[in-house]
Symmetry: C2
Subunit: 404 residues, 2 copies
């Protein structure tokens, strides 16, 4: 008897029209099946069909981050809405929060929590491209009581990967009452996350990066401890759209296979998300591990080509993300020039996000179907294009030999 292999819907679906290849850190290329799921006529948000799809999406979102006990939330919004969910539901005015900062997105999370009344202490990485030191973390946690710490798993502005397993272990040991919040926007689906096993209290992410769906959905998983903190808060929740008071009963209902209404679910985005999550989890945890390894391999390939071109990574050794590579532009070139030339060759790469070095580095995303489906040849196209563009631009810069 044949094993119950998941059907690969790609084969029976139409191909995507020709387009520039997205090699940015989100949105990413999506599978034909994901686009096809997106393109179905809309369902009623309270229909049995949608309820099944949403239930499936909620259940699968937990699996991707290694949580059996967590409560998922999937809400229309960008990844940023996850920060607001943390601020609105877990922070009360005056609460102390420790933000581990490895780039732009640490600053953003900090601003967000401040707007909800948190007193934020920022723990910066020693220098650009490095993760926060575990020793500094331990000192910070010993020096003060924090209600929660936030960690950007992969900061999309720098490509720095934080060792969340070790960070969580330190936090749990030194300050066991502190909630651990992981911003996994650029990591869920391509980096290892064991939410339950490592004792993480919130994992938040978005649909358009390594999850491999379309932008427009905030995904968040809250541990029982995080929900306990939420439900025992003494001050009212600030705001409405990000309030778990509104969304928790809705998510619980759909998890139980029943429809419920607060805001209208973005039914098409959810359908595409569930399709993408099914792809990720179709071979269980083993498949997820292979997927993560495939992303690491793509990252190594890209770094090898960059090295050939004399382009150094922004990120210190050992802290390189699997889904995103940030590299310095060679002497004499600018990010703008490289991006323009790559775009003309049909590959869309991203510029810098850090104001101080904006035009001095580029970011290349390698996530989702571009990595997983080798038949597409996306990674070859990206590495070939990078090589050709930088070689050409350097060539053009070389002074003409004087005519004899």
């Amino acid at each position: 008897m044949s094993s119950p292999k998941p059907q690969i819907p790609n084969s029976k679906k139409r191909d995507q029209p020709g387009h520039k290849l997205l090699a940015i850190p989100g949105p990413v290329e999506v599978g034909n099946n994901v686009l096809e799921a997106l393109a179905q006529p809309p369902l009623s948000h309270v229909s049995p069909d949608f309820t099944r799809i949403f239930q499936q999406g909620l259940l699968l979102s937990k699996k991707v981050v290694g949580s059996a006990s967590g409560q998922p939330f999937i809400i229309a919004g960008s990844g940023t809405l996850g920060w607001d969910q943390v601020g609105a539901n877990l922070v009360e005015r005056g609460d102390r929060v420790l933000v581990l900062r490895t780039g732009y997105f640490g600053d953003g999370f900090s601003s967000c929590l401040t707007s909800y009344g948190a007193k934020v202490t920022t723990l910066k990485a020693p220098s650009l491209g490095e993760p926060v030191s575990l020793g500094d973390l331990e000192s910070a946690l010993l020096g003060q009581n924090f209600k929660l710490i936030t960690v950007t798993h992969v900061d999309t502005s720098t490509g720095v990967l934080s060792d969340i397993k070790s960070i969580a272990a330190v936090a749990r040991r030194v300050s066991p009452q502190t909630l651990i919040v992981l911003d996994a926007v650029c990591s869920a689906g391509c980096e290892d996350i064991k939410m339950d096993a490592w004792g993480i209290d919130v994992v938040l992410t978005a649909s358009q990066k390594a999850i491999g769906a379309l932008p427009g959905l905030s995904l968040l998983i809250a541990s029982p401890r995080a929900l306990e903190t939420y439900s025992t808060r003494t001050s009212p929740i600030q705001g409405y759209y990000a309030s778990w008071q509104k969304w928790l009963p809705i998510m619980e209902a759909y998890m139980a296979g029943k429809a419920a209404y607060f805001g209208t679910q973005p039914v098409n985005l959810v359908r595409a998300l569930t399709e993408a999550l099914q792809d990720i989890m179709k071979n269980g945890e083993e498949g997820l591990a292979l997927r993560i390894e495939a992303h690491r391999k793509a990252a190594r390939r890209l770094r090898a080509v960059a090295a050939q071109l004399g382009m150094k990574t922004l990120t210190s050794r050992g802290a390189e993300a699997a889904g995103l590579t940030a590299v310095w532009v060679p002497e004499g070139l600018t990010a703008t020039k490289i991006l323009q030339r790559a775009g003309a060759k049909g590959v869309v790469m991203a510029g810098g996000l850090l104001a101080e070095v904006k035009d001095r580095y580029i970011r290349i995303g390698h996530m989702g179907v571009s990595v997983v489906d080798e038949r597409r040849g996306d990674i070859e196209k990206i590495t070939d294009t990078l090589y050709a563009v930088v070689t050409e631009l350097l060539e053009e810069k070389r002074p003409e030999p004087a005519t004899s």
Copy 2:
């Protein structure tokens, strides 16, 4: 010579797969061209292509609500996020707000603003199915100073249409400093809205109703006066994701044809939205007026069939919405029974949203392409189905004649 007939982009697009006809008050059926726009491979949110599409969407969203001077915001989220935008940006703790309540959504708006510290006074309609009386409004405004009033243009729970033109006129005359906020979630695209001419300060809506796109986008237009109120507030904005401090520079940039980043735009939803908005505005204001009239006509047809069946509308005479009909279920039947039977015949209608009379009325949505593209035959299918279902169910209830 033939009149300038609008091009029908449908013809060159693939047809939608067979599916149950959505006759709920959102999500609604969408045109093939809208679904096709949705289904394009994702664009970079900062690419020139997306920038053009987003710019176009922003400009067109103003036209649909009759605003030349307003500032549009289009943000990933459900319609509810529009309430939060009002609460976060225009309300400061202790501000007095008058909510005109004609159903469930007035209560929701009220809860939302309360969560941002507003002191809400609710002005209720005299009874279920009626709009708020203009006399009561005038008294309320004379009795107290309100920073803003909110009006649900069409309350999706009751189908009650509020006469926003007259309401705005009263408010401007009696309390000229009060901001006028219109919840147009179930009206923009199928009811007359002259934002600038009538002196409305905020119009908020969503993508999945009469706008005719897919759910997942909050649309909001703010008048110069509303922006002035926002920019002169003395307390910090509450929250982050709904903050205009974050989004205003982004929207201004895209309006000017330049990309900018705060959160990742839901590029596919925006593309479909722009397509839908182009359909709405392709024949200018005249076309928009014809579109609104087409919705009124569909509403009259539906009410006529309901009347034949002895089903009274929930809504008082003159306050019937153009895009939504709420009717009482005939004696002896339940909403559940009617919805089930209609669903089995391929038409999805909606139940009640008001807890106290939930199973005693049904709601039928007639918005967007179902109304505008008569070749689809959607309105016939909806009216025929309603007629057949109710007739059958009444027939089945009739006692069997005694066998002789």
